[in-house]
């Protein structure tokens, strides 16, 4: 269906979100809490855009990541009003992650005033919730948001090692502000107050995954029980394909 995007006519698929459409069209919209794998959460409000539905007079603000396009709407992704809003969001979130490169860059982009830092746990966490989603998608749900209001934070129950945590570090990898403490030393990994042994790759010897993570994956897939790191697995695949062609 035809929609108006920043004054130009564009084609949108019915039901897709404004954010999905804009990403496809190459129109930049900043986000913290959005990830392709999970869809929009509407939590961080960075993706707010102005929108006018048919028959409406005024533009209103909507979160691009959760608004599904169902009619011929008019969308503006950059305006003074949106800039002001993003400036405020960055100003407030930067208090939680004052020295984080991403927040510093955004503070420059939106000329956000720098406020005094506040101490949060874990440091630099902006509560976007991506780690919770990642853990849930892994089927573990070892972490969740605890407490409420100014005390709200992400963690494991009682801040102790969780039986549900397999040390896969999906949470740490997806975190936009690198707030999740992941320590690796030799063949051990420490995350969320729990220490894991790392398994070595059979080809290159690199310690690449926790024992718990591998066993969890083996139980759930028909993939062979070979212990190969990501790059060696790709190499093996390529070799196998080559011999298959011959």
């Amino acid at each position: 269906m035809k929609i108006m995007l920043n004054g130009q006519e564009r084609e949108a698929r019915e039901g897709e979100t404004i954010l999905e459409m804009c990403r496809r069209e190459g129109v930049p919209i900043p986000t913290f809490c959005y990830h392709q794998a999970f869809g929009g959460q509407g939590a961080c409000r960075m993706c707010m855009v102005e929108l006018r539905e048919e028959g409406q007079e005024q533009m209103r603000l909507v979160a691009a990541c959760t608004y599904p396009i169902k009619s011929s709407v008019e969308i503006i992704t950059e305006s003074e009003r949106i800039q002001r809003l993003r400036r405020t969001i960055v100003m407030l979130l930067a208090r939680r992650a004052p020295d984080n490169p991403l927040m510093e860059a955004l503070a420059r982009t939106y000329s956000s005033p720098r406020l005094t830092a506040i101490e949060v746990e874990p440091p630099n966490c902006i509560l976007c919730g991506l780690c919770i989603h990642a853990c849930e998608e892994m089927g573990r749900t070892a972490i969740w948001s605890m407490f409420r209001g100014i005390d709200k934070r992400i963690g494991t129950p009682y801040d102790e090692a969780s039986e549900d945590c397999i040390g896969c570090a999906a949470c740490a990898r997806i975190c936009p502000t690198q707030a999740i403490n992941l320590e690796e030393e030799g063949s051990t990994r420490r995350i969320w107050n729990k220490t894991f042994d790392l398994v070595a790759c059979q080809r290159c010897g690199k310690h690449y995954a926790t024992r718990e993570e591998l066993e969890y994956l083996w139980e759930r897939s028909e993939y062979g029980q070979e212990q190969l790191c990501e790059s060696c697995r790709k190499k093996t695949l390529a070799i196998n394909m080559k011999s298959f062609q011959q």
């Binding site: 749900t141 969740w144 948001s145 407490f147 129950p157 009682y158 039986e163 549900d164």
Partner: protein, 168 residues
């Protein structure tokens, strides 16, 4: 999750209570409230058992327990002194009542005496501002409490020994 040994003594009691509900996820809150009512807090073992019963991960049950102020994650006293510190009670000097309680019982707000008899809490408003300052002990309401009344109220619940132990 480390579970204290003494909680296992109550494992069967928790089980009976929890399994009196069907294991539907929507019963989570009701079960938690029931356990809180019976034990004045949510024991770790109970949280773990509830999680299994309704099929919701421990992290989410714990998250819910930490979200609502009605739940406690640490054992509470048999008698809970709740002092209202809403605007009206605050102006009517609820702070003095708190001071008195803390002195007499030898504990701070949100703490429990070592023998598990008394806890002190503050609440933001009990909706009884005309009775300010208000204090509630296990559901019994005391209105227009004067600092002189505190010791008498504590004694009603057998707190005399505390008063003598902790008097300066």
């Amino acid at each position: 999750m480390q579970i204290e040994a003494r909680e296992y003594e109550y494992a069967n009691d928790y089980k009976v209570l929890i399994e009196s509900y069907s294991g539907k996820p929507e019963h989570l809150l009701a079960i938690m409230q029931d356990v809180q009512r019976h034990y004045n807090y949510l024991p770790r073992l109970a949280i773990s058992m509830i999680s299994q019963h309704v099929g919701i991960p421990v992290s989410r049950v714990y998250a819910m327990a930490s979200f609502y102020k009605a739940f406690s994650l640490v054992p509470k006293g048999k008698f809970i002194f709740r002092v209202c510190d809403g605007t009206a009670c605050h102006i009517k000097n609820s702070a003095t009542l708190l001071d008195q309680l803390q002195q007499h019982l030898g504990i701070e707000v949100d703490e429990t005496t070592a023998d598990g008899m008394f806890s002190i809490e503050t609440v933001n408003c009990l909706g009884a501002c005309a009775l300010a300052p208000v204090m509630v002990v296990n559901g019994k309401v005391y209105g227009k409490v004067s600092p002189g009344d505190v010791e008498r109220i504590i004694n009603e619940y057998g707190g005399q020994s505390y008063a003598s132990q902790h008097k300066c």
